[in-house]
């Protein structure tokens, strides 16, 4: 704090101020700070800055909806226009969290209705959202503009209808990967005829038909529409008509790409894509018929993100397509492209920064295809800027990973999933410890890591020793003893999220992280060796943590099957269902 007092202006009666700036100036300046991490830092400087920051903040990001209550948020930040909330633990994506666990948005909306009546944006991830909540949102917040729902559940297309009907100023409606009750496509027709403000529309995830007539008219009259992602029911012919209406699109998600086209239709489609010179993102291409992929070529010049994870392409088809995408930075594919396809990636995409390879047949045992370590290595040679990878494969070697990170030392996100649990290096039969050792030693900027394969405590020794910037770690079927987890907890100073399943980590490991958990967002441990008593001890010693346990049906009384620990200023949950035990 500045101990010198600057001469105050006569109007000011704040004679004891230490800041050299009047509030208004400070607020103006701080208002330009956008990143929520920076804003957190700003608020810690001194009381004046804390106040200026809180008055000038318009967007709040809450990474765990139970870490704080809506009342506390509203008290601190009076001028919020945009809220981002995340709810359930990430492993709920993989069926590890029962339905009705919580993270219901409604209580938040009720508080926002009185404190933030001018709320404009709501972005939710893994929250439960009911139709009533959507209706409440639509009818209460007259200024509401942008709704983004990612991996949420609890609502149906009726809720979307309410949004379309009542939100007169809507600019963004983004419905992604949700567990939603699709009762029909009538919701789209609820946008009024004089409604023209839409800029983002994503309903790729919905399965029933919308009225194409309504969609076409909507797209035509929304001249500012930039992102359009339609669902599988939109045919190629319909797509062509939409593109004719909206050549200004920058992001496009197509419907199915396999209708039978006449020569004339093909030509028209090609021409439509030719007019879309502003496309930087392309996705959809569901069940793409390779024969029609060339219609895309004219639009691919400026593509930076190509999402082919719904199109089971073979290597040759991918190679031909990539020839036309010289500026690609992000690529998502299915492993049907195989190593050969990834070689093409290495050859054609020198600017590539992100690669995600998803398995086309994840549950099939007898698959002889898919990608191997060779494909990944090939990409690493051709794409030195690669820093984000999500890679599903069935075999990997320590040597390959060492080569990969030597070629690409800038990894920030390294998520490797060798699909058979506990799979060793298939050439040497050794654990994959050295692979991840190489990753953490070489990639000093690593923020997120997911490990797999046969791993001993050595992997975690490496992680604790070298991964000093690591924030998120996902572990499954790995490790040999408590020591492994202890290494991570004591070594990774920036760790915020740790999620563990099916590992031999027990009470000693859990309790070694007591103070650590207060500096983290959350810890998840399921199917490990943790007992109820240890969890109770944790809860008792750390009152500012919420320690929640969910037990499996046939488990022993003393076992804590699923443990979720997170810091909170809101105290224990008041809405926990009976199967969530708060200790």
């Amino acid at each position: 704090m500045d101990s010198k007092r600057k001469k105050d202006s006569p109007e000011s009666n704040e004679l004891t101020r230490s800041s050299p700036f009047p509030d208004e100036v400070l607020e103006r300046v701080l208002g330009l700070v956008k990143s929520h991490k920076d804003r957190s830092s700003v608020s810690l400087v001194c009381k004046d800055w804390y106040n200026a920051e809180r008055w000038s903040r318009t967007h709040v990001f809450i990474g765990n909806c139970y870490s704080v209550s809506p009342e506390i948020v509203a008290r601190r930040f009076p001028n919020i226009r945009s809220v981002t909330l995340k709810g359930k633990p990430r492993f709920s994506d993989f069926n590890l969290v029962p339905l009705n666990w919580g993270a219901d948005i409604h209580a938040w909306l009720v508080v926002f209705a009185s404190k933030y009546p001018l709320l404009e944006e709501l972005r939710l991830k893994r929250m439960t959202v009911t139709d009533e909540s959507l209706e409440f949102l639509a009818t209460t917040f007259t200024n509401f503009k942008a709704l983004s729902l990612l991996s949420c559940d609890g609502f149906s297309t009726d809720g979307l209808a309410a949004i379309a009907t009542h939100c007169k100023n809507m600019t963004e409606l983004d419905i992604q990967e949700n567990g939603i009750d699709d009762l029909g496509g009538g919701w789209l027709s609820c946008f009024p005829e004089n409604f023209t403000s839409l800029e983002v529309l994503n309903f790729a995830n919905l399965s029933s038909d919308v009225s194409f007539d309504a969609l076409e008219k909507l797209v035509s009259r929304c001249r500012s529409l930039k992102f359009l992602k339609v669902n599988k029911n939109i045919t190629l012919e319909q797509l062509q008509r939409l593109l004719e209406c909206a050549p200004q699109l920058t992001e496009l998600g197509t419907g199915s790409f396999h209708q039978e086209l006449t020569t004339r239709q093909y030509a028209e489609l090609e021409s439509a894509f030719n007019n879309c010179k502003n496309l930087n993102t392309l996705s959809g291409l569901c069940e793409a018929t390779p024969l029609y992929l060339p219609v895309l070529y004219p639009a691919c010049m400026n593509l930076t993100f190509l999402n082919l994870s719904d199109a089971a392409l073979q290597s040759g088809e991918l190679a031909k397509l990539l020839d036309h995408c010289p500026n690609l930075q992000r690529l998502w594919v299915l492993d049907t492209v195989e190593d050969k396809g990834l070689e093409a990636v290495g050859l054609s995409c020198p600017l590539l920064e992100e690669l995600r390879v998803f398995p086309a047949d994840p549950y099939e045992q007898d698959v002889v295809h898919g990608v191997t370590e060779m494909g990944f290595v090939a990409v690493s040679y051709g794409c030195p800027r690669l820093h984000y990878v999500l890679y599903f494969c069935r075999q990997m070697t320590n040597a390959a990973v060492a080569t990969i990170v030597k070629n690409c030392p800038d990894f920030t996100h390294f998520r490797l999933c060798v699909m058979n649990p506990g799979e060793p290096d298939y050439l040497t039969d050794e654990p994959m410890d050295e692979a991840f050792g190489a990753v953490v030693k070489n990639c000093t900027k690593l923020q997120r890591l997911a490990v797999s394969g046969l791993l001993t405590d050595l992997t975690f020794e490496y992680i604790g020793k070298y991964a000093k910037n690591l924030e998120t770690l996902s572990v499954a079927f790995a490790g040999s003893s408590d020591w492994g987890m202890q290494c991570v907890l004591s070594g990774c100073s920036k760790l915020r999220k740790l999620e563990i399943r099916d590992c031999p980590f027990g009470n000693e490991a859990l309790l070694s992280g007591l103070e650590k958990y207060e500096s983290m967002r959350s810890l998840w441990m399921s199917a490990c060796n943790v007992t109820m008593n240890a969890c109770r001890r944790l809860a008792k010693q750390m009152p500012r943590l919420n320690v929640e346990v969910m037990k499996d049906e046939e488990s022993d009384d003393s076992q804590a099957d699923k443990v979720y620990v997170y810091r909170s200023v809101a105290g224990p949950r008041r809405d926990a269902p009976p199967f969530v035990l708060t200790l």
Partner: protein
């Protein structure tokens, strides 16, 4: 028909050594996550995790870690059984857990009953639970069960009596089930 075992006619209950009291029914339409962790926990009960090649395939819930939506796309090209599963899954309300991605639905026909049923074998880990579910599915009670036997058709097309091989072998090779009357 039933290979090499026609002289060993056993009752349902006798064949699978069901205890006299009724076992709790597994709810196989709701709460898809409740019985999930059983299989894979066996691997981690020891303090040092010894990796075993899982020759039964992936009977592990939530593994590989692929999001719900993506599972639907990936399974799109699979056979009849799975397509039915997908159809059921997408019609279900509020799907957070939704369709078990490791479902193994097989047809079950009971002699004398016109309509075949389907059962998700991935929800069962023993012959006991399977037979109990089947008993209830076809509206029979424990006593009636004595007069039936369970047969299955394996990948080679042979019909075998269920219960003679370990559960894990059974589940890998079973393609369809049939409930037959004993002595008939």
């Amino acid at each position: 028909m039933i290979s090499g075992r026609s002289n060993k006619k056993r009752g349902f209950i006798e064949a699978f050594e069901l205890p006299p009291q009724t076992l709790p029914l597994l709810l196989w339409n709701d709460h898809p996550n409740d019985d999930d962790d059983d299989d894979d926990r066996k691997g981690v009960e020891n303090s040092s995790f010894i990796a075993k090649k899982n020759d039964d395939g992936y009977c592990i819930v939530g593994w590989p870690p692929i999001k719900f939506r993506r599972k639907k796309i990936c399974s799109h090209n699979r056979d009849d059984n799975d397509r039915t599963v997908l159809h059921n899954g997408s019609a279900r309300a509020g799907v957070g857990g939704g369709v078990n991605p490791n479902s193994k639905y097989v047809k079950v026909k009971m002699v004398g009953v016109g309509i075949a049923r389907k059962i998700d074998l991935s929800r069962h880990h023993s012959y006991q639970t399977l037979t109990n579910t089947l008993i209830n599915m076809f509206g029979k009670c424990q006593q009636d069960a004595q007069s039936f036997k369970l047969a299955y058709q394996d990948r080679e097309g042979d019909w075998l009596l269920a219960g003679d091989v370990p559960w894990r072998t059974f589940i890998q090779s079973v393609e369809r089930l049939k409930i037959l009357r004993i002595g008939g």
